[in-house]
Structures are given as structure tokens and as C-alpha cells.
């Protein structure tokens, strides 16, 4: 009996939370989820790529590490990614509660995803790149 009580209570709380997020979260919630995935992918790409730069203790030996010239190109792409990332967050923040997500949000999420894919493509093929690609850019082989 003592075990069933907290379970019942948890189920009731879960029901309320689910009903509440369905009712009030609305379409802004959908934009937020896409943004959260895009942002997490951008942060992960930045961290993993930095670890793979030749000469760093975490980097594999050449030719699997990211050479200096490639790192420079990836930095330029990631800079663009984070400008878009912050703009996207501000756009979602500005949407009034309960309003539909604008097509611009979807367009910006798409751009961030494409740019992350471009950055991952520049990393030499290695188990680390494979693991990163599986998480952030499954289309990149």
C-alpha cells in the first residue's frame, strides 16, 4: 500500500503536467524543441572539433586530427552557426505564448543543421567524427 501511494500521486502529477503542456505550450513549444536540438548539436560540434585539432592532447595522430587550415575553416562556419543560434533563440523568445511558430524558425533551424553538417564534413574521418556525425549530422557519412 505504501508503495502504491507515491505511484498514484506521481501518475496524477504526470497527468496534470502533460495536460498543461498540451494546453498551454502550443506551437511555440515545437519551435523550442527544434531550437534546443540545434543548439545542443552546435555546442557538441564545437567541443568535439576543438578536441580533434592536431597537437592537442585529446587529438588523434595525423591524418585523423584536424589540421590548422581546416580548423580555421570550421571556426568560420561555427561562428555563423552561433550567430544564427543566438538569433533563433531571441526570435523564439519574442514569440507570444500560444502563437504559431513562424516559418522563419523552421528555416533558421534548417540553416543551423546544414552548417553543422558542413563543419562535420571537413573533419577527417575517424571514430570520433563518426560518433559526432551520428549525433548531430546523420546524413554525413
Amino acid at each position: 500500500m505504501r508503495r502504491i501511494m507515491p505511484v498514484t500521486f506521481t501518475i496524477l502529477i504526470g497527468l496534470f503536467t502533460l495536460a498543461a503542456s498540451c494546453q498551454v505550450g502550443g506551437t511555440k513549444e515545437i519551435g523550442f524543441r527544434g531550437y534546443a536540438i540545434a543548439h545542443t548539436s552546435a555546442m557538441l560540434t564545437k567541443t568535439v572539433e576543438a578536441d580533434l585539432v592536431c597537437g592537442r592532447v585529446t587529438a588523434p595522430a595525423p591524418p585523423l586530427c584536424v589540421d590548422d587550415a581546416t580548423h580555421g575553416k570550421i571556426l568560420e562556419i561555427l561562428r555563423e552557426v552561433f550567430v544564427l543560434d543566438a538569433d533563433l533563440g531571441r526570435l523564439i523568445q519574442s514569440l507570444p505564448e500560444g502563437t504559431p511558430t513562424t516559418p522563419e524558425v523552421g528555416y533558421m533551424i534548417g540553416n543551423v543543421t546544414v552548417l553543422i553538417g558542413d563543419a562535420v564534413k571537413l573533419i577527417p574521418k575517424s571514430p570520433q567524427r563518426q560518433a559526432l556525425a551520428e549525433k548531430v549530422a546523420p546524413a554525413v557519412k
Binding site: G25, H39, L75, V83
Partner: protein, 71 residues
């Protein structure tokens, strides 16, 4: 701590409340929804700040690289 029977006896009125849109159910739902919104808005603000910091960090590295290249 309410007894198990008390909790079980709440389920019926709650389901009925959902169906009829009783004020106390609406209040409870609004309470949970407002909490969700606050958590989400906090997450958006944190992500914007992380993106801004990442951009500043990358700008500094690009700048340092171009300075090194000129030397």
C-alpha cells in the same frame, strides 16, 4: 500524507473535472503550465547566453589566428 484511498477517490472527480472544465482543475493545470513555461523560458535564455559566449570565444580565436598569420 493522504491515504491511498483518499488519492484514489480523487481520481474520479479529477477526470470529471477535466471533462467539465471545473475551475479547480483549470487552476491546477494553469499552475503546472506556468511552471513549464518558466522552465522553458529559462532554458531559452541560457542557450542564447551560451551561443553568445561561444561566438565571442570563436571571434577571439579567429582574431588570434589572423594576428599570428601576420607576424
Amino acid at each position: 500524507m493522504p491515504s491511498f484511498l483518499t488519492l484514489v477517490s480523487l481520481v474520479g472527480p479529477l477526470i470529471e473535472g477535466f471533462q467539465k472544465g471545473a475551475p479547480f482543475v483549470k487552476d491546477l493545470m494553469a499552475l503546472f503550465a506556468n511552471h513549464d513555461i518558466a522552465v522553458r523560458d529559462e532554458a531559452i535564455a541560457r542557450m542564447i547566453s551560451e551561443a553568445d559566449s561561444a561566438k565571442i570565444e570563436i571571434d577571439a580565436e579567429i582574431e588570434a589566428r589572423s594576428r599570428r598569420a601576420k607576424e
